[in-house]
Subunit: 353 residues, 4 copies
């Protein structure tokens, strides 16, 4: 219930306002030299407080690695245990939440599931958990990079501002150079939407798009272990995720087979990897990579925490008012970008170890 992956696994723990988050990474390949400088930089990108647009909680989020790595930074093949201390929690901000259920949060559902819950900052249901994923994903990212695989993620929509059909070129003309960068004007417009919502104490949804290049063909398992199903399962595990699509995605519903057939380009040398003239498939067929780029998008709902009074109920079901307290992420999708990237790297690594 708290373990991701099959061959490379990540088992995590931690409540938002408990002593620490942490996890165990099992199955990481031995003999790999970790670049800790790069690692801490990658992890820092998730950190709250790194941008005026996100929650003010400011923690160093410096993971302490406890096992599985030699003093020289070489992986041993044994499980890598790590913890990240929770240092900046203002638990008293959440006192009210012990007796009321916040709308659109997991307060009521956890209470029903367990009969007991840690109300402080959302407890186990908090997005604080994603720090564990980013630590594990940052390690995975270095390892798959050593095999020539690169994962990129970008914020492709915030409320009404969208980067459009961001993968269009990649689908129709995969041989052309492609960049996942979003136009600076659109980025600015996105920031304005976030700022406006923040001012009003409101929140707004968004979309994150992700690209994986350098994948060798033949990676994935059929039927119950399809690579894109694993990606979907991982992405939908991220807090606030509401949708996943890869390749042509939902636009496939109105497409013709004859126009989206991804025909093969003949090759002269039998040992070469094969390419396709278009890439509507998104690099995966029958759950297994064909060597073309993998790409997908994930939709995120507006964060349910609002900085305005909300009508709700208390734990006995009576009407109550929730006053704004705690911290506020006006657009959870902003912070989801490094999380999508990290989990993607982890899933890819799980299929390659």
């Amino acid at each position: 219930m708290n373990t991701f992956g099959k061959r490379l696994t990540l088992t995590t723990f931690g409540e938002s306002h408990g002593p620490a988050m942490g996890g165990v990474i099992d199955g990481f390949p031995p003999g790999f030299k970790i670049d800790f400088n790069l690692l801490y930089k990658t992890i820092a990108k998730r950190r709250p407080g790194s941008s005026p647009l996100v929650t003010a909680r400011n923690e160093k989020d410096h993971p302490e690695f406890l096992s599985g790595i030699t003093p020289e930074g070489i992986t041993l093949g044994t499980p890598i245990g790590f913890i990240v201390r929770n240092t900046d929690h203002h638990s008293s901000d959440y006192d009210e939440m012990a007796r009321i259920y916040r709308p659109n949060h997991a307060d009521y559902t956890y209470a029903r599931r367990y009969g007991v819950r840690d109300h402080r900052g959302g407890g186990r249901s908090s997005a604080r958990e994603t720090v564990n994923w980013v630590v594990a994903g940052a390690l995975a990212e270095q390892w798959i990079a050593s095999k020539g695989i690169k994962v990129e993620a970008v914020l492709s929509q915030v409320g009404p501002v969208t980067a459009g059909d961001i993968f269009d070129g990649l689908m129709t003309k995969p041989e052309q150079p492609f960049s996942l960068d979003v136009n600076p004007e659109i980025k600015l417009a996105m920031e304005q939407v976030v700022t406006e919502h923040k001012k009003r104490g409101d929140s707004v949804g968004g979309k994150v798009s992700c690209l994986v290049t350098g994948m060798p063909p033949g990676i994935g398992d059929p039927v119950a272990g399809k690579l894109h199903a694993a990606l979907a399962g991982a992405m939908m595990s991220i807090n606030a995720a509401k949708g996943f699509e890869y390749g042509l995605g939902f636009r496939a519903s109105c497409a013709n087979g004859s126009e989206t057939a991804d025909s093969f380009i003949p090759i002269s040398n039998e040992d070469e990897n094969i390419k396709t003239a278009t890439n509507f498939s998104g690099g995966i067929q029958g759950g297994i990579t064909n060597g073309m780029p993998i790409f997908f998008s994930v939709a995120f709902k507006p964060t349910p925490t609002l900085m305005m009074p909300q009508c709700t109920i208390d734990t006995s079901g009576q009407k109550a008012v929730l006053n704004p307290a705690g911290r506020h992420d006006p657009c959870v999708a902003v912070r989801a970008v490094p999380v999508v990237k990290a989990l993607t790297a982890f899933v890819i690594a799980d299929y390659l170890v």
Copy 2:
């Protein structure tokens, strides 16, 4: 790699043109009386040849149950083994495919993954596998029905013809009566689109929408076992699936938090289940049910098999022409309806056993 579920599991086998499909259902509750008449009816809905719109392959698809059930039809709690014979395969239709890769199929990826493949009818990658899921799902459906849970699925889009925002009423006014039925005129238009594509030898994409009612609150596991992530993983395992969204789905990307907060309706009796005034969440919060209806949609690409010559390559990478052969489903989404329903019932049961 061929096992679905955690507590209730389905392990399957079978190549499209091998002797049989089949599976083992483990963890099914003991002492449950199966209604075999109903079971065979449910399974028949998936059957090819049940409509002029789908592939002409006509098989009885009558499962033989080999264990786990007493002669009186009572489950024993022990694994339920079953097989479904493959009887109507025209393997010679597929001879050409031994030496060429069909575009947009899993031929090339299986060859890369395993070094060997069964080219006849797609082998293990064929949608024939879904018969196993429908058998298991039909059993699960009966069992969850005994707990008051109902799963419905409907074809909500075929190419350009769409049933619109099919769950709109359910999200904004969940207290109003709701039907998943699609307007007969739209259904007729969908059929016409399929028929036109069939005539041209082309294929077309579609969308299937699914509704689960009667769920008790508190079902689901946090973090790596979220109910909607399990549903996403299962749905994306269906052949040709390209996208999954639940609740507000991709529309969440442009929504405000203040307008989609799903506030609670106060209750007079503490023992009652709680309801929300809106249901943009789709019945799940933090991965756990809140007791409101669950609903989601799945996008399907056009089936890659076309009844027209296609340029492709042979197994040595040389240019080749694929002549139409075998059977043809112009719109795989049509046949996915009972599959979506079956897998959903199975996933729900997995969380309830």
Copy 3:
């Protein structure tokens, strides 16, 4: 609950008097050519009726393979489904057992576990299940043989007649030639013990010893995946197994460290595998093979079915008499020999795929 293995898995089903036994082997390597003649011979060794000493139930036990293998006998890497029909069951022999609990059987415990049970021939708790293991093990055996690994098993004790410290030479002088064969006189004495017990309607315990040679070093996982722990778990899953020991086994309890240290023999070439001067360890250290032979023994209790009236209780707890009926294996250890061999081959293969 019905799945053995981690990477190579066997999921089984079947009640003794149901339509069929069967299973799914998942993770078997692709591209392996199966020798079906050899396979059927290996499987036949388990068959009841193959010796006057064992139960009279006479079934062909011919597995039908349903998937995962090409018509030419090449494995596809996809799951191998198989069934073995139950053809010679005399269910009426067991009518009495619907209302009484046989002593020392699993009748009462299954009734408590599931609330329902298949009393005919022991249902799921019958040793009939081992036919599934022997089918899977026979496939595994061929595959590990292709890597130079050989598994042998022998009956090393029947009641008071024992082959002695059968592995003594292998432990103290591993460089000497070694045979697992049991002295013909001891074998004859064992047969006499079985025959005497059969005549009296009684049963007798026994011991099976197993040897694995040709193992490469470095196979096994530490901590929760130790190779000898997996072997212990598998062996103790065999019906009637009461004990497992490997290497020095229970004699280790009274040994000194200085006399059982298995010191290394220096080598001239760094690429060579290392050998040890003694092999009290039984070829495994820290859960991982060192390249020396692996050996272990498994104790089996007398089969609880007796051909004599027994005092027992009925399902309401009242005194009852169990009259002899059904078939009778006076010494279950005799039939366990091919089962031990098969499961061992399967466990070894699980660590090598």
Copy 4:
């Protein structure tokens, strides 16, 4: 590879001389009040330095719980993460071991398995890992105690000094009062054997016997999830374990069925649990408990670390001498007693959650 259990799981990490040991306990029931005083006492029993007979390494071994428990000591149902710092390691004692392989240790096998190893104190293969199991087992023990289940373990053999057929009374007259206590004279003799070996720098084997009382009937899963197979797998995972037997154990090999039939005692009230007149089965039939006491023994080899020079090889295969260094446990079975108890409690809890 580092996860124990199926429903209640323990995933561990830690090298002997790394920063910390630790683990994640997932699936622990919510709403349980932990008695921390009792917990620390239980954990302290494993601690090195608690007796002159065991290794001099003296660590507080105080676990820090990081999640899954409220400040009031109530379990949340979410994963319980914990760490135990390694504070008293004298890594320089082990410098020599970087270039030589200690006989009968896991040095060579880890090197072959991973290509890299942490030589300091045995790294991941050290019995230091058992501290993780004792922490998890101590929690499990409290929870099963709340259900009336008690686990006891005792040292029943050290070298030639044995407590005899310690479970004899329990098998033949289970209705008589039974104590697992070992006669004080025998205990003294055991201590003398340990002391003598310690003086000589030698080590000695031993045996630990374990008793579980208060088990309800119907606990366990058939075929691949048998309770005694899970116990065997867990016990054989303990460092230095060489054998496992339950109930009649290896003596079953020379027993008759008619004398070991465990006949049922008729009951007057159908709702009562059933008892048997003898208990040669050891409380489990077909892998499922029958409500009678469970008991088993585990054989341990002499610890391979000796306080005398030993001939061995270096990592290039050349002859080398290993000089005594590090700490020394003359009889690992002594310290295995609380480990056997802890893992048993954990396995039992895994079947009850």
